[in-house]
């Protein structure tokens, strides 16, 4: 789960990393009070999860109340579904640093990435000036050692008070990385002010969904998702992505679903939604089909090749879902794996024509979506 900037900054604040004075607002009526706290000039920062907010004009510097009102209204009314704005004091900066922590799967390390050119996208820098990027690898079974922190700070060319302060931020950020089961924790930019104060100018924190059982702080709300369907399916625990094509996918397993997605594109078809109803969800045919039917798709394509997820159980679920939902569009099935013979009988009895080859099923779906007979 990716957190919003203001949530990441709350985490920073709680572990003792300084953040700018700021107030979160959800309507323009709260703006004046917020500005009273931060003073002018201030920054209006739209709280959405998309990257490149600055370029998209979703971060605005304003110098007085009139400008603030005008810009705030524009942001709330923009096409980007902005529901929350972080109102922050504008910090006077001398320098900016990049700092993040993630994992390196190859060496099995925690990886601290730092750069004395903050504020730019690290991916851009990795291409244009890779020599400027500092990487420090941490043994996850030992943890970050003090000498490593010092080495990062020296390589950043820091000295004096700033060196001490940034070293402290690195240590704290690492603790936050561990404590939050972070996939990524990032401060970009980390401001160094004229008074040599060190302040987190932005914040990213992405929490590992697999660690949810020990990280229960954040409730899943609609704001985190691009569409209603993605939000509803997340609540059900069904992996779902919204597209706007003709064929609704209801497939078992991530890789098979991705491959079916490819094959549809090769055949000139378009995908309405990606939906996985395998693994722990293989008994959720009814809910999966309901989600598919919310799309304007022309056909539902079901492809599975399961071992634990038994084909007969899936087939029964599908027939039950059809009986209950009476779908208004054709359904194409290609269900194989454990107990596939039984599955085939169940589907045939319900009037479906089971297919057994993924590509044949995909071709059928593409032609039916194009208007051909089933």
């Amino acid at each position: 789960m990716k957190l919003f900037e203001y949530q990441a900054k709350e985490v920073f604040k709680n572990i003792g990393i300084s953040i700018p004075e700021g107030v979160v607002i959800t309507s323009i009526s709260e703006l004046k009070r917020a500005a009273g706290k931060t003073g002018f000039p201030l920054v209006l920062k739209s709280q959405i999860l998309m990257g490149g907010r600055g370029k998209a004009g979703l971060i605005r510097f304003v110098k007085d109340q009139v400008e603030a009102d005008k810009n705030c209204l524009e942001l709330f009314e923009s096409d980007y579904n902005v529901n929350t704005i972080l109102v922050e004091e504008a910090v006077g900066i001398k320098n900016e640093i990049y700092l993040s922590i993630t994992v390196d799967p190859v060496t099995a390390s925690h990886m601290i990435i730092a750069c004395s050119d903050g504020g730019v996208e690290i991916e851009t820098l990795a291409v244009e000036a890779p020599e400027k990027i500092i990487r420090e690898f941490v043994d996850p079974n030992l943890g970050l050692m003090p000498f490593q922190i010092k080495d990062i700070a020296f390589r950043l060319g820091l000295e004096g008070e700033v060196l001490k302060k940034i070293s402290s931020v690195i240590g704290k950020l690492y603790q936050a990385f561990l404590k939050n089961d972070a996939e990524l924790i990032e401060i970009n930019p980390l401001f160094i002010t004229g008074n040599d104060d060190v302040i987190a100018g932005d914040g990213k924190l992405s929490i590992d969904d697999n660690a949810e059982f020990r990280q229960k702080t954040y409730e899943i709300t609609r704001e985190y998702f691009d569409s209603d369907a993605e939000y509803e399916s997340a609540l059900e625990g069904i992996p779902y992505l919204q597209f706007d094509g003709d064929i609704s996918l209801m497939c078992a397993g991530a890789g098979l679903t991705t491959t079916v997605y490819d094959l549809i594109n090769y055949e000139g078809g378009t995908v309405a939604n990606y939906l996985e109803f395998g693994g722990p969800n293989y008994k959720k045919a009814l809910r999966a089909m309901e989600l598919c039917l919310k799309n304007d798709s022309k056909v539902i394509l079901i492809v599975t090749f399961g071992t634990i997820a038994r084909a007969d159980v899936m087939a029964e679920g599908i027939v039950d879902a059809i009986n209950r939902l009476k779908p208004d569009r054709p359904i194409i099935t290609c269900i194989r794996g454990t107990n596939e013979e039984a599955a085939s009988k169940i589907l045939t009895k319900a009037g479906l024509v089971p297919l057994y080859d993924t590509e044949e099923a995909v071709r059928k779906a593409v032609s039916v979506a194009a208007g051909d007979e089933l």
Binding site: P105, D208, G253, Y261, G337
Partner: protein
Amino acid sequence: MSIFIDEKTRVLVQGITGKEGKYWTEHMIGCGTTVVAGVTPGKEGQQIEGRTVYHSVRRALSKVEVEASMLFVPPMFTKDAVFEALDSGIKKIVTVADGIPLHDAIQIRRAALSVGALVIGGNTSGVISPGKAMMGFFPYWIERVYKPGRIGVMTRIGSLTNEVTAMIVKAGFGVSSLIGIGGDPVPGTRFAEMLPFYEADDKTDAVVIIGELGGSMEEECAEMKRDGLYTKPLVAFLGGRTAPVGKRMGHAGAIVSGGKGTVKDKIEAIESVGGKVAERPRFIGDLLKEVLGL
């Protein structure tokens, strides 16, 4: 010779008394696996499929010899179970758990590397040498899917594995050993680390890798081939050629970020060292015939 496991490999099952543990232990034995004992804390003395259950790995190893451990343990307890097996000196471990926390996975892999052990998984169906033995769950009884043969297979994609092996069998081949690397961003063992075993295996003529967008495991295989550490033919199927950038397609590892990990890059890397990439699963058979000169 087989890779990782054959009918003589002595296997311990951690989590043997659970529903999945019991069910798949029966099938592992049915496939030919030498299961020697099981472990479930608090259940010592029970018998599962005629095998004795012990409270702990240490207690089991005081009674029986074990080479490999199969974990049917929920993701939240997987780290502890892997470390328990490593602590007893077991050097081959398979975990099928889907949903191991990232921070646990990175600690597991680091610990395995530091003692020279192979941890396969998580988020995998496991490991199978068709006709000999398996650790995990494969529908080995479907011959059109798991026929013994001379093609090595490694996979990141559980749901596509049956599909691809069925294509290999349909083309007249069979599978020597299949290693399910798993779909997580930090698998315990990477594709490239298994290639030397296939290189040394006189029962494997070529290797098929089933990969997808995200990460760098396919590129690492290409490097092995370029460096001459793997010299047999390499054929790949890669899912996610048409996947939109930035969207996480199912597996947590399946995301293109910062322009890295696209299928296009992976295809270029593999083809640049003479490997072949099948655009569709059904092309794998023909590509295998081509690279083997049949």
